[in-house]
């Protein structure tokens, strides 16, 4: 007996016996070999029972040897935060220390309480969740749902953050080959020798595909698998080829954009910390060659899910690749030729094959003869109608398919083959249409929608020679089509014998026909039986898409790789329609489950999203700023001093700005430089205001509407020269305003000689506001006379500040006299520090966005997006003065005349005074005119801005209220959960109504 498991056969397989690996399964330690999958290592140790099924909690084993596995799903755990559920044991390679656990069982795998579902299964037939838990209504939320949620689900996800990193890369190639079996390797060699840039991906650790199990294949005089190793080596050595193993093509998108995911570290005992766990390759290929092979189908018979029952090709792979016999007494049940090879190989390796049960009456005579030579009994025209055993198959019940005596044959493993399903998933994802091939009874690629080709088994090409010839030709043609300098490749591959895989059967076998109350599984992962599918049809599901959703056949993570065709055949039979008339469901990405980590890849943690900081951010942080998120920007919100909460800090900042001065970082405002002889003309069209006559050195507050007449953005526009304007936008509006302006310029007014350049980030903007603003900034400014006479409110000039070039704006969003000093961004911090050092001893404070909001609300200045919601016109906002009365055209000129926009009673922006003098209204609160009316009350508006105003000594608010401009002095009501608040409608200016302070 081998150290690496009792079922390991000396001399068989391609693994090295000396390279042992220790791993655990459900806490028990086992030895496997380097290169084993968890499945092969467990079978080597005679472990077939690896999990419990989803719905009935039936004991389940290993069905396949590849990524199509529906059954053997386990959790794999590296540490507390690295526990991945639903890993296919047939894909996960073992490494020293691998820790795997079975799923969906409690308290243990061999004794599972949930298995009672199996006994109570009439309750859980197809569509049970639509029917069983409907009554009484209240029970769903409190009883059914919590219980079902606990019982359902496969595996457990970790609660900790995933500590691994994941990578992504866009990559371009002339030819992408999906699948590294004989077809894929040959096509890749052919294309690569032509000089094309080639990517070949294969989901296994090593290319080879079916050559891993098909012992009799010979290529170039070599055993098939040896040839594959050599071919992969040749490809890997070529500069124009990227060979990606452990890499699954999971999605085929428009224009040959294919997503691959490479498992980089899951097979390593101690990966380097910087290595990504997985890498997503986003491939753009000139041509895609799909060489995805075919997937063997299981036989549908009673209790076909017992551990130890598996696909014939899987058993053959375990033997020929991993050196593992799946049992000592192996029954065979088949409807095609390919299971014979597995039986013969097992027999030669020393296993007992008590019988090959062949559903066909006349199998290939040569195979029957060979079986005779090996001493294997062949029962033609017979069926396996049931399997004995519970935690492991113990026997098979065999009877003639036309009826007759049942023979129970003891076995410890049962291998089966219903035939091969071409893997058309990638083709179907590419939006190609499959076509039913009547002769061979399978769906094959039909109409292509993209620049791709299918070759080999997935294209229904049978036999090694035909596959190689097809692959050579398609590889060369693809290279020629995608790569202009392709040359004739010099690949020639001579082919020896190999089996043919056509034929087989679909649907339920004898003993599982309509009317039989047995569990003959079609879909192992979702526990769908043949009976469930018939029930779905009986209950009126006539479309295969409805059958799929009603039964959940094919809806598990394996997406029905084994079950779809069987399910379709059973439905077709029940509907009494031919299979192509019932149709196949659409295959969608991902081909196999793909981790969220891979999908998210780099976009997590610090680089989940850009975090934008202004040039003065560090200085503000050092001054104790609390920051708020404004889009992607971090903006200083308020600057609490020792012992201050937000309210106290904001009150102090508000007072200080009005009494002394405050300094504010306005750098995030959008800025656009508008340059050219037609600049004024262009702005005159984009804004509602008149701009033709704005003088050089002057500023104007501008409103920008959409064509429908609603306010889109606002900002201050300064004229620096006849042909140069400095435009500001809201912080959040910067990109869309530039886009909007470019749209009009490029597509409606392309003859205007004007260009737009974003300068948002060129300038750091330092606002100094308050009665002492001039005194504070004056010493730093050169080249500009800051006196009221020379530089009044709404002026702009260029000069220097602290010795660096500056654009100084005399403007105000606070109602105080003030300046917005623009300096090149890299100097922002230096200028900020200099002004602060002078201003602070004079009593100036730093203030944040909250104070800015309060101060502007005291003055009734709107914030677009807060006091407007995309349905507010300049008139509604009380800004009729900003519309150029003599202008014949501007964006919005016609929209503003629409009947709805000139109608009486529109919601209009007003101020609200709170009658109790202390309640601060909630922004978003609804307003009614009669609080005593029945619920639901008629809402006539809502609060858009609301603050405590320290300077007014009262709460202030703005609101959009129906017919608001005509309600001055009216009392309205704001109903809140703990009472109704009375308010009085007033104008929107709460402080310094005459505006004298602006000019101080």
């Amino acid at each position: 007996m081998s150290a690496a498991g009792a079922n390991r056969i000396a001399g068989a397989g391609r693994l090295t016996p000396a390279n042992t690996v220790r791993f655990t399964f459900d806490g028990k330690s086992y030895t496997g070999l380097q290169g084993d999958t968890l499945a092969s290592a467990l079978i080597a140790n005679d472990v077939h029972l690896v999990g419990r099924s989803f719905k009935y909690h039936r004991p389940r084993g290993i069905l396949s040897a590849g990524p199509e596995e529906p059954s053997a799903l386990v959790g794999v755990r590296r540490d507390a935060s690295r526990h991945t559920p639903n890993i296919r044991a047939t894909v996960q390679e073992i490494h020293d220390g691998l820790d795997a656990v079975s799923q969906n069982r409690w308290p243990s795998l061999t004794f599972d309480i949930g298995a009672l579902n199996d006994i109570g299964s009439p309750m859980f037939s197809a569509g049970f969740y639509y029917k069983t838990f409907m009554w009484p209504k209240a029970a769903w939320k409190h009883i059914y749902e919590p219980v079902i949620r606990n019982a359902a689900g496969l595996g457990v996800a970790p609660k900790e953050a995933d500590p691994d990193n994941y990578a992504a890369r866009y990559v371009h190639c002339d030819v992408l080959v999906i699948g590294g079996g004989v077809a894929g390797l040959t096509a890749a060699l052919s294309a690569a020798e032509s000089g094309a840039r080639v990517i070949l991906c294969d989901e296994n650790a090593h290319p080879g595909g079916a050559l891993r199990f098909e012992g009799e294949a010979r290529l170039d005089g070599m055993a098939g698998h040896d040839w594959a190793v050599q071919a992969a080596g040749r490809l890997a050595a070529m500069d124009n080829v990227r060979l990606l193993t452990r890499t699954t093509a999971f999605g085929y998108y428009a224009q040959n954009f294919v997503g691959l995911v490479e498992r980089v570290t899951d097979h390593l005992a101690a990966p380097e910390p910087d290595m990504p766990r997985e890498r997503v390759w986003q491939v753009r290929a000139g041509k895609v060659i799909i060489a995805a092979g075919a997937i063997e189908r299981h036989m549908v018979f009673a209790n076909n899910d017992r551990p130890g029952i598996m696909l014939a090709s899987a058993a053959r792979t375990y033997l020929n690749h991993y050196g593992v016999a799946v049992g000592r007494k192996v029954g065979v049940y088949t409807a095609n030729d390919s299971a014979y090879g597995a039986a013969f190989d097992l027999k030669r390796a020393g296993a007992d094959i008590p019988a090959i049960v062949d559903l066909r009456d006349e199998p290939d005579a040569g195979l029957v003869e060979e079986a005779g030579v090996l001493g294997i009994r062949v029962l033609t025209g017979h069926a396996v109608t049931g399997a004995g055993g519970k935690l492991r198959v113990a026997s098979m019940s065999v009877e003639p398919k036309k009826g007759g005596r049942t023979e129970v044959i003891p076995v410890d493993a049962l291998i089966m083959s219903a035939g091969w399903t071409p893997s058309v998933h990638m083709f179907s994802q590419s939006r190609g249409k499959v076509a039913w091939d009547e002769e061979t009874g399978r769906f094959l690629p039909g109409t292509y929608a993209q620049e791709c080709a299918s070759i080999g088994a997935c294209n229904g090409t049978d036999g090694l020679e035909a596959t190689v010839n097809e692959a050579l030709a398609v590889g060369e043609a693809a290279a020629k089509a995608a790569h202009p300098k392709a040359k004739k490749p010099s690949v020639a591959i001579s082919v020896g014998s190999a089996g043919k895989w056509a034929g087989g059967m679909v649907g339920a076998g004898p003993g599982a026909e309509a009317g039989k109350v047995v569990k003959a599984f079609v879909d192992f992962q979702n526990d769908v039986t043949a009976k469930d599918i018939r029930l779905a049809v009986q209950e009126g599901m006539h479309s295969i898409e409805h059958v799929k959703r009603f039964t959940t056949n094919g809806m598990a993570t394996d997406q029905g790789k084994l079950s779809n065709l069987h399910g379709l055949a059973i439905a077709a039979e029940a509907l009494d329609k031919p299979i192509p008339k019932v149709g196949l469901t659409t295959f969608r990405p991902p081909y196999t489950p793909t981790t969220f980590g891979a999908i998210v890849n780099h976009a997590r943690g610090k680089i989940f999203d850009p975090m934008r900081r202004t040039p003065m951010h560090a200085a503000e942080a050092a001054a104790g700023a609390v920051f708020e998120d404004v889009g992607q920007w971090k903006r200083a919100w308020y600057y609490p001093r020792a012992g201050e909460d937000m309210h106290a800090a904001v009150n102090r900042e508000c007072r200080t700005v009005r009494e002394v001065a405050g300094m504010f970082d306005a750098s995030t405002l959008g800025k656009i430089e508008v340059v050219g002889p037609d600049a004024a003309k262009f702005l005159n069209i984009l804004y509602t205001n008149p701009f033709l006559k704005l003088g050089v050195g002057r500023l104007r507050y501008g409103i920008m509407c959409r064509e429908d007449g609603f306010i889109y953005d606002d900002g201050v526009v300064g004229r620096l020269a006849e042909d140069r304007f400095h435009v500001t936008t809201t912080t959040g509006g910067a990109p869309r305003v530039l886009h909007h302006m470019e749209d009009y310029l490029q597509t409606e007014f392309p003859d205007l000689k004007v260009w737009l350049t974003s300068t948002s980030e060129q300038w750091a903007v330092i606002a100094v506001q308050g009665p002492k603003a001039r005194e504070i900034v004056e010493p730093f400014v050169e080249g500009i006379d800051l006196s009221n006479e020379a530089f009044p409110h709404m002026s702009v000039a260029e000069g220097t500040v602290c010795g660096v070039p500056a654009r100084v704006f005399r403007m105000s969003f606070t109602g105080e006299a003030g300046y917005e000093i623009n300096v090149p961004a890299d100097y922002g911090r230096m200028v900020w520090d200099a002004i602060y050092e002078r201003g602070a001893p004079m009593g100036m404070c730093l203030y944040g966005t909250e104070t800015m909001h309060v101060l502007r609300a005291e003055k009734g200045y709107i914030i677009v997006g807060q006091d407007t919601d995309g349905t507010v016109t300049p008139h509604d906002a009380g800004l009729s003065w900003a519309i150029g009365k003599k202008k014949t055209d501007f964006v919005g000129v016609r929209g503003l005349k629409r009947p709805d926009l000139v109608a009486e009673g529109r919601r209009q922006l007003v101020g609200l005074k709170v009658k109790d003098g202390k309640s601060v209204l909630e922004e978003g609160a609804q307003i009614v005119d009669n609080p005593k009316q029945a619920i639901p009350m008629k809402m006539i508006g809502w609060v858009s801005s609301s603050y405590w105003s320290e300077n007014c000594g009262a709460p202030i608010a703005m609101a959009l209220v129906e017919n608001g401009h005509n309600r001055m002095g009216e009392t309205l009501y704001v109903p809140m959960p703990d009472g109704v608040i009375e308010v009085e409608v007033c104008g929107t200016v709460f402080f310094d109504e005459e505006g004298g302070r602006l000019h101080g």
Partner: protein
Amino acid sequence: MLLIHCPYCGEERPELEFRHAGEAHIARPENIAEISDEDFAHYFFYRDNPKGVTFERWRHMHGCGRFFNAVRDSVSDKFLTTYKAGEPKPDIADAANENQINTSKGQGAK
């Protein structure tokens, strides 16, 4: 992710660089201030959203920055052609012939 041929850059570029900008060939009326409510509604609000060949605007936002027009099949998502802003509406049949991928015979089709 689509590949979009930018008529200004002269090559196909990834969709991430582009932004869709609505239906094409809807000119802003020169006398917009005077048009009727109905004409304004047709200009600003009503869109055809046809199934099949559509004329649409795109902007190579994160590339050359230019707006351009495209003819695309809204069923297959395929672009039939793209052309510069201001150029006339192309003949659909010509565009379809020039750019259509041969959908009926992929190399491996049987």
